[in-house]
């Protein structure tokens, strides 16, 4: 890098130092957001570990009972179809 481009980069750095200043938020905005964040009427919902484990158990129980229901229903349908076929074969 030659001295001209080095001085050019220094100049750009100086311009950035002098130009880029922090921008303050409006005090009303800061105050309003502070109220919204710390408002006791706006409590946070936090799930404890106990509730999380109960939720997982509930999901597992739902999945298992769903599988049992599907298996039972399919067995009932298959037996009904067999019964229907047997009845037809006796008739003809």
């Amino acid at each position: 890098m030659n001295s001209t481009s080095s001085s050019e980069i220094d100049r750009i750095e100086n311009v950035m130092h002098s130009s880029l200043k922090p921008v303050d938020p409006r005090p009303e905005f800061v105050e309003g957001l502070h109220k919204r964040l710390t408002d006791p009427m706006n409590p946070r919902v936090r799930f404890t570990r106990q509730y999380s484990s109960q939720f997982i158990l509930l999901v597992i129980a739902s999945v298992v009972s769903g599988i049992v229901f599907v298996l039972t229903a399919s067995r009932v349908i298959i037996s009904l179809i067999r019964e229907f076929r047997l009845t037809n074969s006796r008739l003809y």
Binding site: V15, P22, P27, R44
Partner: protein
Amino acid sequence: MCWCTLPIVVRKVPELSDELALKLAAQGDQEAFGVLYERYVARIYSYIYYRTGNQHDAEDLTARVFFRAMRHVENYKDRGLPLSAWLYRIAHNLVANWHRDNSRRKEIPLDEIILVRQSGVLPEAVLIENEEKENLLNVIHRLPADRQQLIILKFVEHLSNAEIGQVMGRSEGAVKSLYHRTLLSLRDDFESILASDKNDNEGLSKS
């Protein structure tokens, strides 16, 4: 006058360490989170303001940063990263989403940020300086997101390379290297702007 009735901008933030305030906030203490909010709101707002270019979106995104931080404060694990780095990362992700949702980027209202006339300075000098600053901001806004982030964190937030590395998830050396490449890119863009201005002036003088 009670501490709690003072305006927030002049109220002194209590001497509560970030670690303790975080611990209390993670247990649901909203006042402790309020202390952290007061400590960092101006820096986060300023960062977002430069990335979005307008007050309305900067306020909206700043609010989202702190609501998201409050929602996840109990999951914040102290891995040697300062809280500010975590907040800047949340802000960076939200700004990235914002840019994705807004295909057309909005321009920074230059007159509000830097084009402030200094008393006692010749108008011509102010004009030249403002033009230079305007060019600079336009060039910065054309940079890739990570380079914009680097420039804002360095010059607006005055963070060191190591701190910028913590925010950006890069090593200090990588930040230095990126900064050098960014300066070279800015210099080239500046030169092309100056060249096009020169061509425009020559065209005007001929006609």
